[in-house]
Symmetry: C2
Subunit: 461 residues, 2 copies
């Protein structure tokens, strides 16, 4: 059997779950607990310096839910653990996801303590899919949010994903390209992602090529000869300023052959100072059309600084720090049961209360169309004046329609981002966007909490 | 076509590369640069609070190198970009990796500025595989290192991987289980990883099950009835102390039926105080054999604190912060060309110098067998008295032998960890382990640097 961590077949996919999901499922099975359950996905606390999140990863989740199964090999493995009964394993063999899903479309902005996705399905189906649902939406939304911060800081300059090599895995490299494109990145260096998602591929050249040739100038000329339409020359292998002079020379040679040097790339050193020196060298050679790319340790904070100081950089290539969401590598998304068999439920763990019942989120805008506040309400309420954010995307285990294109998701992001106040987009310590609970939800929360506390017997102490 | 980010076929795998690898490859192709090249993988700077790294991910890399190809669909995509020539695409169609690889075995400890892996292959083959090699070794080594820190801090208490849901992707969830097991974790909650890698699966129960039943006591009893051999009861859904009393009651009921309650789990609150209270409640019910599991926001720092304060916790379930390597979510591993066609090469970018030539690492020990220092030397040197760390693991594109088992990797880790001085294992600001370059490597570095500087023409300024 091939053991590569990034090779996963459809028949295996059911096993991407925590063991306790399966042991709980067997318990439900034995107790005949097949009634519908509603779970919702949300996050409680903003990751550091975050004032909003961008939704990404839903398409993965819906593909998974349509295809999840426990194939023969998976059931054989479970049988070998000695933990599960034959009846339960037979039941798993026929299991499909037949539930419904309401969710925030990808590209939309969301906030703490509001549902991003809600699953209603027979208890076992809804329970078993927890691990993968969180896995797909939590990190992709972090990546989309990190990308949005870069795009915001770049103020119109282009941003490209260069993160494949230091992404935390192969699939997170692919999702970075996708999530980044949703949030406004222009391209990706990741060829597999470019093909898979229809994102423009982008690239320059590496130090290895420069050093493989006898001199930098020879390497530049060779590359320009091979790719006269899209040559971007890397300047810092030996000395960035000297590299800029060599690039200018090759740029003039390309002009003589009817071509144009597309760009040069800085990859180390003081980007502000070097970009100014390089711009001057290029301009003095009448190469004002040659664009400057900066890469190497760049994130939204560095982009903001460089743009603020007027660095003549046209394209930011972002890699390691963005694809890992380095300053905020996790978000605390949870998937909580809020209703079982028609009964609203909740837990009371300290600082981890999750209000009961199926829900909807309404977004209210001010007179200028800007986002004003969100209200989390019970599903059967109707709050006039607000936009209902969660859409039914799956019914009876089938998607309700084709998945939107990445361009559509990008347009949604763009519209939401425009309508979100600038203070929520601050890179440092943004304020919290107002999210409140409707009076009906607050009332129900109090009622359920009261019932639980009544049932608890504290006399045992 | 299925677009799930975690579904990748072998025929596609060549495309998991950065675009510039392919454009450089076409340039090499056009210039007839098919001579052998040597690249090496290393990191320059320790991630925060790290004094060593644990190697993981090599098996993935070797599987990839044996299987990498550019299938028809991949080449069709490349053709559609309009960037590549027909001759080059035909060449790609027949491309395999035929090179050799020398590498540090998985589980071994390594340090900054020393080679972890060295590839020697025809230039194009060696260049195209850069992106995936870094991707697989960089993050898996970070995960293995994070796990080693947890295991060290736990001082003999068990640590289990609970990270699947908030891992940065599906494959990083699988690699966390695998890397953690190499570094001494006892089990994983991730069923797919448990099956794939033969790791013991572990699990407890979730709040959702407690809330789905009318009362906590009923949920506990139902689970105990379903899994009398391996029941671990979750205490904090409503109130941890009350939960402990309910667990003790169920524990006594299990005893009456000839079973033993395996454990209880804390998932929120003050773990030190609660673990003491819960231990007392269990002990007073003569349930001293029931183990206490703690989970929820736990990492090596929290484990060190709890163990140091004597919290009666037997098993730490680590999730989000460990699987993301949250305090150090990236390492700066690079893959640099050091030799082309017999000529040693290097780059001179500020703070990014990489010494030229094919290398070996020698590890010297003191009289008690403890690691004393490492020496990076040229491959053709022979440093007496040191252990040569890099082994030939691939030759002519084929693995030189079967991959070691995870148990063997774990044993290697255990031996290295024992021989590494305690100060390098400090969780905060450990000193740097001494790594020096041999005099021959230092001399060659100076020579190559001198030649490059001679060739550079600074008069252009």
């Amino acid at each position: 059997m091939n053991q590569r961590a990034f090779h996963i077949t459809r028949a295996d996919l059911g096993l991407f779950t925590d063991l306790y999901e399966l042991t709980m499922a067997q318990t439900y099975f034995e107790w005949g607990m097949f009634a519908p359950a509603t779970f919702y996905l949300f996050f409680r606390s903003y990751p550091p310096n975050r004032g909003y999140m961008v939704c990404a990863g839903l398409e993965d989740v819906l593909d998974f839910l349509e295809g999840v199964s426990f194939g023969d090999g998976s059931r054989e493995y479970l049988r070998s653990t000695g933990m599960f009964t034959g009846d339960f394993l037979d039941f798993l063999g026929g299991l499909q996801f037949n539930g419904s899903v309401r969710a925030l479309p990808e590209g939309r902005i969301f906030f703490a303590n509001e549902p991003v996705l809600e699953v209603t399905a027979p208890m076992i189906e809804a329970q078993l899919v927890e691990t993968l649902i969180i896995n797909r939406l939590n990190f992709q939304s972090l990546q989309a949010t990190k990308a949005a911060r870069c795009v915001g800081a770049a103020r119109g300059r282009a941003v490209s994903d260069f993160g494949a090599r230091r992404a935390p895995g192969v699939d997170s490299a692919l999702t970075m390209a996708r999530s980044g494109f949703i949030s406004g990145f222009q391209s990706t260096s990741n060829v597999m992602a470019a093909r898979r998602y229809g994102i423009p591929p982008a690239g320059t050249m590496a130090h290895s090529m420069i050093t493989a040739f006898p001199t930098e100038l020879e390497a530049f000329r060779a590359y320009a000869a091979a790719f006269p339409q899209r040559t971007i020359l890397l300047l810092d292998t030996y000395d960035t300023v000297e590299g800029a002079h060599n690039a200018a020379q090759v740029g003039k040679e390309m002009e003589a052959q009817g071509h144009r040097l597309a760009g040069v790339r800085l990859d180390s050193g003081d980007y502000l100072d070097l970009s100014r020196q390089v711009r001057r060298i290029l301009d003095e050679a009448d190469l004002d059309y040659v664009r400057i790319v900066a890469s190497g340790g760049i994130d939204e904070y560095e982009i903001e600084r460089l743009v603020g100081e007027g660095a003549p950089i046209d394209i930011f290539g972002v890699g390691t720090r963005v694809t890992t969401s380095a300053d905020a590598p996790y978000c605390d998304m949870s998937y909580k049961l809020t209703c079982y068999d028609g009964r609203p439920v909740m837990k009371l763990s300290p600082d981890k209360v999750s209000p009961p019942g199926a829900k909807q989120v309404y977004r209210l805008r001010d007179s200028e169309g800007q986002f004003e506040r969100d209200v989390v309400a019970l599903l059967d309420e109707n709050l006039p004046g607000g936009e209902a954010l969660l859409e039914t995307v799956m019914d009876g285990g089938r998607k309700t329609g084709p998945c939107p294109s990445l361009a559509e998701m990008g347009e949604r992001f763009h519209q939401d981002f425009e309508r979100l106040g600038d203070h929520f987009k601050q890179l440092h310590n943004p304020p919290h966007y107002p999210v409140t609970f409707s009076s009906a939800l607050t009332r129900l929360t109090g009622e359920v909490q009261g019932q639980i506390l009544e049932n608890l017997d504290f006399s045992g102490d």
